[in-house]
Symmetry: C2
Subunit: 501 residues, 2 copies
């Protein structure tokens, strides 16, 4: 049996090598590649994707998994071996259910849609991309239908990102959250908005870059096993546990852009760098779900990086780097600026309170579209109405409305957004648990020390990779199911103090 | 038949995609990768190499080539279709002759040897690497024996780099060249060496970098289809005809290092960027041989980049970039400095006259080792003796003697060096032909214009990729066989003027 497991591992590592190569090709495309490389690069990525898919859906893998079933059942559920077989089987069964011809059709349609969207967005021309999105919606439903027996048509699509999560669960969770968030947003916006003009002076790029790196080094991001490069759309990527890279973009007139972007991506990277090294090359060697991943990026960006204690330590250093710009700006003014709450048009620029309203709106539209309650042609109008109702503002055009996010135009409709809000909910829940175990963490943060927090996260979350599902992990770590209470407590406490609510 | 040709092309492009991905992995390893990525990267490269080898040696390719033979024979020899089939068959027949188990054995031995060499060189410890090199020599002979019927055991190994070239031809060629070069070196070194201290001041990196790029842009290197990055050991690489990258290293106390390195690599890159776009992804889409490739790097580096006319235009610009360092150094002094001839220990630092003696020495040792006339254990002593005889100096240690080049420790013994000297011979022959067709080229170079030269090279050499063998190409371009006369004429004229011989 161990020989069969070894055979399975050898195949999985080979597949992972192809996937890692593809990840490097994508990283290069977003960071350094000249425009002339684009056409061949698309083809190279398609070739690698097709090869790794072929190799993973090889019936020999199915046979090995079948042969290994008795061995798996003889082992404890949470043994590494049983977990590897279990997680591989889950991925395998998902992969073989979708016919290769459909994968090719979807991939080709998605590429075309992306090209059309890339022109339609700056031109504010939803009509141009509408027929493509209609086809995408159709394909998304077809994709779901390869997984019969679902409760909601979105469930199999959500499953790709947040295994085990269901539309019904998310609806309940988001409804509860919404009930708490809307009054909070109203209470905050009844007060005058914070003045964040101090962030919009001119901050030379090199110093911004160095300052961000200094912080994430202190977080524990290991530059011997990663690096940071510039890109138009920041992301984190991994070529091995020893090579986890972050990217960022710098705006000289917006201090928050690179700073919080770097902290956010470093959170993702700490997770991937923290996976157990002996999981290397297997399906266990990556974060377990979109929601848990986002919980880590947002924990380091917001719960740590937008906290008052954190800036008690770092703000004098930041002032020393930018004495002309910040020398006469108080810590309190700066702290208010980086935590300004204000309804805004763009999800990625939203503050931590209103952010979830952006996500829920998209999630609800995904369900409505998939269920057929909403037609694609009615989406722009629905977007404006819902925006007015939830955030009290109306996007002046579709460019900053329904066309703003790439997700639906670069993939399917369904499953792409819930992870962001799950991340917000979970980051508070995990952080509260960490603080209960180590009440010294806030004091350490005020000293620019993150060792206790990082070790706790590594021990409890990072090292396990995908060994446990998100649900199992939350239960193991917090002793209970996912709950919005810690997140609401966190927001209420922080913003009550800030806005004297 | 066209369907079969299309099938063949589809397979070849898929293989090329894997090779291009591997090239990017190597580029990244040499430019940006953090040390933590090394172990997985080696494995990823091995996986990609094995997959592309498997796919290229698939009997289905042999069958397609066989089926296409009548079609090929019905076409003109130099039609694109016949050339593609012919060159693919040549590569295929070479690849299938070597058993995969031997490829794996050689690759594993080579990796080990490289690791040992990387420690042995700084420690000046030839004995440490000697048994590995003995094994390498043994494997090199075995490799040659997979190609029975050779005239000299080195011939199949030379063939990998310079197709159709034979040890006997090279021996004759090198003997003639040597006969001309040795007296020239003696005549030059009878004079006091040029003073090149002006190159060894402090030149800040950023300005060196920008100046080199400015020149290669004028050469015609297209930055929309490439870029330059830093690396410890400069090289040129290609991921597609639209993405050909160069690398360089900068020494602040040696102006020549980055400058001529950039010009050299740009020469390689101009060749690869100049290949016909419709050859993309096929075996025709790359330079035809090591010698022809090196002829282009050295043409742009030396015949253009170390000429007086070139610096008439560029030296005032260089002085403007480095006024403190070069403001009071005359053009003549600078020109002499960059063309200083002096016997030296390291091949890669050698001037254009003595350079070939370094290459011939290595070539002769390769033949002697392969023939069994020289034992590996006697190599260090033989190196010292030959160095004294040829260059009049003796390396003080093996580090800067027999251990200096990576080639034998990172590959096989045989075929790795002749290309450098073939490149020197050919660059003069090609340049003389270009000048005969376009006598205005030198005047244009004095104006910083390279369009006529670049167009001529593209039209006559670059566009054809591997369609013609080196021998065919030389015949087509110059109307005759390879000849050392233009190169000797070039050296005599240039150095007679410089040293008043």
């Amino acid at each position: 049996m161990e020989t069969k497991l070894q055979k399975l591992k050898t195949r999985l590592i080979e597949i992972n090598d192809l996937e890692s190569a593809a990840a490097l090709l994508s990283w290069d495309q977003s960071t350094y590649m000249s425009p002339g490389g684009a056409a061949a690069r698309a083809r190279q990525l398609a070739t690698l994707g097709q090869l790794s898919h072929e190799k993973f859906t090889d019936p020999a893998i199915g046979k090995l998994l079948e042969d290994l079933r008795p061995y798996e059942e003889s082992l404890p559920y949470d043994s590494d071996e049983a977990s590897l077989i279990r997680v591989t089987r889950r991925n395998y069964e998902r992969s073989v259910k979708v016919p290769p011809s459909f994968v090719a059709q979807l991939s080709s349609h998605t590429s075309q849609t992306y090209e059309v969207w890339a022109q339609a967005r700056p031109a504010n021309d939803f009509a141009k991309v509408q027929p493509y999105l209609e086809k995408t919606l159709d394909l998304s439903r077809q994709l779901a239908d390869f997984f019969p027996g679902y409760e909601h048509v979105a469930d199999p699509l959500i499953d790709f990102h947040d295994y085990g999560m269901k539309a019904s669960t998310l609806r309940t969770l988001f409804a509860e959250l919404r009930q708490q968030l809307v009054p909070l947003v109203q209470a905050i916006t009844a007060h005058p908005a914070a003045d964040d003009s101090c962030l919009h002076q001119t901050f030379p790029e090199a110093q911004q870059w160095a300052f961000g790196l200094e912080i994430v080094k202190r977080f524990g991001y290991d530059f011997e096993r990663g690096r940071q490069d510039k890109t138009p759309h920041p992301f984190t990527t991994k070529f091995s546990i020893g090579d986890v890279r972050i990217t960022t973009r710098v705006k000289e007139n917006d201090l928050g852009e690179a700073l919080f972007g770097t902290l956010h991506e470093a959170g993702h990277a700490l997770y991937e760098q923290g996976v157990r090294k002996d999981f290397e090359g297997t399906p266990l060697a990556q974060g377990t779900s979109s929601g848990v991943h986002e919980s880590q990026s947002r924990l380091w960006e917001n719960l740590v990086g937008r906290s008052r204690g954190f800036w008690k330590f770092f703000y004098p250093k930041l002032q020393a780097v930018f004495p002309d710009q910040l020398g006469s700006v108080s810590l309190d003014t700066f702290y208010r600026a980086i935590n300004k709450v204000q309804p805004s048009l763009i999800r990625t620029d939203a503050d931590e309170v209103t952010y979830n309203l952006h996500v829920m709106l998209r999630f609800d539209f995904e369900l409505a579209l998939l269920e057929g309650r909403l037609a694609v042609r009615d989406l722009p109008e629905a977007w404006r109405e819902r925006f007015k109702a939830d955030l009290g503002i109306v996007p002046p055009d579709d460019r900053d409305g329904v066309l703003q996010d790439v997700h639906w135009y670069d993939g399917i409709v369904g499953g792409a957004f819930q992870g962001y809000t799950l991340g917000n909910v979970l980051n508070a829940q995990f952080f509260e648990t960490a603080l209960a175990a180590h009440p010294e963490i806030p004091a350490e943060i005020e000293e620019g020390e993150f060792g206790t927090l990082h070790s706790w996260l590594k021990e409890n979350i990072y090292q396990h990779g995908s060994k446990y599902t998100a649900t199992e992990l939350i239960e193991r770590v917090t002793g209970g199911p996912m709950s919005i209470e810690p997140y609401i407590r966190y927001l209420r406490t922080k913003y009550a103090e800030l806005y004297k609510l």
